[in-house]
């Protein structure tokens, strides 16, 4: 009769590891369930509707791309990319390859069914044998080796402490050596990331970062445990290798340097330390920046199925807050860091203080001080919706009551606006009337019937209020403008202010197309409805935050500018353009700080020897005007000057 016995690897040092894994699992699941329950109505509806849809495939692709390969960081800086990738991909592959290795090993041991091998493992003291019957497993093995069926168990910790438990392998396991070398190569890869991370502390500029995040104590503590994990694993494996000759090329090369007699006593403690470091990392992970590891994957999924941030902190915000890895990539570009020192408003710090529930006054200062220039949102490799998170915080500190806009009740649109192009100059263009005049000339030259809806007075688009967290008042203003437009029967809306453009496009949900004037002029020129002459002025184009980073419009203004002038290259342009300093998203910075940022922007524009600064925003124009030797012109004005009138 065949008797069954079971063998399972065990040593007391796996206890902390297993406890750590269990803790991590429970805390993560608990947190994720709590956050999903915090989803608001809209987010729940999205989840119910789309939780299973085709978008899962792009989501998985992005998880691989950004969670493991870190392509966005690569695009920013190759060395920084290698560092992040080595950690993420290296560790992930180490886990996968380790699992495969232990699986194959156990499969071969099971099929071998060799009593000698089992007895040897038991005698080493690291495998526990038991049987279902009353006879102890060791007795069965000794008395009846021919009729025994040995079953090897493969608990989670076998893969992690593999070389400690299996000094040699079944002769059938042909790939054993390959796996050992592969594991070593992967460990080497992770070490590469580790080395770069250490270098980054002293020479972050090598990785394209002028500033790095100032971490809290708990973050540093957790990082230390992470940094210890891999060297300890390497040491422990090498010592085991020097005793038993197992392991891959790298561990064996270190093992050669050890004297087995001397290191023998250290083996257990090294594996124990390795286990403890893993435990410390797992236990601290949910409370530190490393929570981003899993959270980012959830965030990508939710985002791909169409979830967005809302007007109040919700479960989705919790996922966003926890998906920030505090990588600090958002710090460098921030004008409040680069050109004005002493403002700790950058996304990384704001997100951390919200997540860590710092004092309300601290969070309030952080959320209001910023310019809303969007530089950090563009830089963030996790693509966290930082502007919305900030608005939610601002709303908490705002007196968000209804406004007193009864004076707008009488506003009516004229009867003859039907079918025309509505033109909205925006409040600011009342301070730069050259822009609206130029636009009127352009409309006339192209023979377009337009309705200048804010010729005499502007009902603000509401975005300045919205950005400061006055959601109710902003909605009231939007309601007024929307009704005017709908009543008028206009076919299309052209705006000169990129702030309004963004607001009308994203916040209004109009039925008619909305265009910024640069896009509109580009269309007129390319359709041949407007003929312009190529002027001689050397121009430098300033990308307004709200038009470029806010709406992704970079090419149309450049095409128009190329048609009417000689644009020069500007060092920091497109996504990296410097805010003019007067962004309406900020109310707190005084004139001194604003001036410093503006001067940095002007210097960036004029370095190339441009004779004229070209903008596409009344606000930017107003900010630069009279503060630089060069004339400052809106693209519309440059076009209007160079119109060739037919006949």
């Amino acid at each position: 009769m065949i008797q069954k016995i079971t063998l399972t690897p065990f040593n007391s040092f796996v206890i902390p590891f297993m406890a750590g894994v269990l803790f991590l699992l429970v805390v993560c699941i608990w947190k994720y369930i709590r956050w999903i329950r915090l989803f608001n109505e809209e987010q729940r509806a999205v989840l119910r509707k789309n939780w299973i849809s085709w978008n899962i495939f792009p989501a998985i692709w992005e998880m691989l791309r950004e969670g493991l390969l870190h392509i966005r960081i690569f695009k920013r800086n190759v060395v920084l990319g290698i560092m992040h990738q080595a950690y993420a991909l290296g560790w992930f592959l180490l886990i996968v390859a380790g699992a495969m290795e232990s699986m194959s090993a156990v499969r071969h041991l099971n099929s071998d069914n060799s009593p000698e091998f089992a007895s040897e493992l038991i005698s080493q003291g690291n495998w526990i044998a038991y049987s279902k019957t009353d006879t102890p497993a060791t007795d069965i093995l000794q008395n009846n080796p021919e009729n025994v069926k040995i079953h090897y168990k493969r608990p989670l910790h076998l893969a992690i402490f593999y070389r400690y438990f299996l000094h040699s392998n079944s002769p059938q396991f042909k790939n054993a050596k390959f796996y050992a070398n592969l594991m070593d190569a992967l460990l080497l890869y992770v070490f590469l990331g580790l080395t770069l991370a250490v270098i980054k502390i002293f020479r972050s500029r090598l990785m394209g970062m002028r500033n790095t995040t100032r971490h809290t104590i708990i973050d540093r503590f957790s990082k230390m445990s992470l940094w210890c994990i891999f060297p300890l694993r390497f040491l422990a494996e090498s010592v085991t290798a020097s005793l038993y000759g197992n392991g891959g090329f790298w561990t064996l090369s270190l093992a050669k340097l050890f004297d087995p007699v001397i290191v023998e006593g250290m083996e257990m403690s090294l594996w124990l330390f390795y286990s403890i470091m893993l435990t410390i990392f797992f236990v601290t992970m949910p409370f530190t920046r490393y929570m981003h590891i899993f959270t980012e994957l959830f965030l990508i999924y939710f985002r791909k199925i169409g979830m967005t941030e809302c007007n109040a902190k919700s479960g989705y915000s919790m996922f966003e807050l926890n998906a920030c890895s505090r990588c600090g990539i958002c710090i460098d570009g921030c004008p409040l860091n680069r050109d004005v020192n002493g403002h700790k408003v950058q996304a990384v710090y704001l997100i951390r203080s919200i997540r860590m529930k710092e004092r309300a006054s601290v969070i309030r200062t952080m959320s209001t001080d910023c310019l809303m220039c969007g530089q950090c949102s563009i830089a963030c490799p996790v693509q966290i919706d930082i502007a919305s998170l900030r608005k939610i915080q601002r709303n908490k500190g705002a007196i968000d009551t209804r406004g007193n806009y009864s004076y707008l009740h009488g506003m009516r649109s004229p009867f003859n606006a039907m079918g025309r192009v509505a033109y909205f100059g925006g409040c600011m263009s009342h301070l730069t009337p050259g822009i609206t005049t130029a636009m009127e000339q352009i409309f006339n030259a192209a023979g377009i019937k337009y309705w200048h809806m804010d010729h005499h007075a502007t009902i603000c688009c509401g975005r300045p209020l919205e950005q400061q967290g006055f959601f109710n008042q902003a909605a009231e203003l939007r309601e007024k403008n929307k009704r005017l437009l709908e009543e008028s029967g206009a076919e299309m809306l052209v705006t000169s202010c990129p702030i309004c453009y963004q607001s009308f496009t994203k916040e209004y949900k109009l039925d008619i197309p909305v265009m910024h004037h640069t896009v509109f002029i580009d269309k007129l020129i390319s359709e041949g409805r407007l003929t312009v002459r190529h002027g001689q002025a050397k121009t430098a184009y300033h990308d307004p935050c709200e038009l470029g980073r806010g709406m992704g419009i970079y090419n149309e203004p450049r095409r128009v500018l190329e048609a009417v002038s000689n644009p020069q290259t500007v060092k920091l342009e497109r996504e990296n353009s410097i805010c003019c300093g007067f962004n309406l998203g900020n109310t707190v910075l005084g004139i001194n700080d604003q001036t410093k940022i503006r001067n940095a922007a002007i210097e960036n524009l004029t370095e190339s020897g441009a004779e004229t600064i070209a903008t596409a925003c009344p606000m930017c124009k107003k900010a630069f005007l009279h503060n630089t030797k060069q004339p400052v012109r809106d693209i519309a004005e440059l076009v209007a000057e160079n119109i060739i009138l037919e006949n």
């Binding site: 301070l431 502007t458 009902i459 300045p464 004139i591």
Partner: protein, 109 residues
């Protein structure tokens, strides 16, 4: 008759011995640039809301200075926060922040 937005104000007497400057002092702490205001009225002249109604931001901060704050919160709610006033102020007063802080103080925040 065309309404130019200007009108003759009724004569008013103000007992300066009894003015309550407490709120004003607190406002100055929150937005020190306000001390630079020399009441030129540029802010009011350019104001977007002023184009529609008799809302007058310069008058509001004069009243605030004098402690006559009863109706100011309701008045300030007419502001659209468009920022033109801040941009034209020759003294670099940060009016948008001033307006937000006035409302906060008036709402005991």
């Amino acid at each position: 008759m065309k309404d130019f937005g200007f009108a003759i104000e009724k004569p008013r007497a103000l007992d300066t011995d009894k003015t309550n400057r407490e709120l004003y002092t607190r406002l100055l702490k929150r937005e020190p640039s306000f001390a630079r205001c020399f009441q030129c009225g540029m802010c009011s002249a350019t104001c977007s809301a002023r184009n529609f109604t008799d809302y007058n931001i310069r008058r509001i901060h004069t009243l605030f200075r004098q402690g006559q704050t009863q109706e100011l919160d309701q008045m300030l709610k007419a502001c659209m926060l468009c920022g033109k006033c801040t941009l034209v102020c020759p003294r670099g007063v940060n009016l948008r922040h001033l307006i937000i802080q006035m409302r906060k103080l008036l709402n005991n925040d």
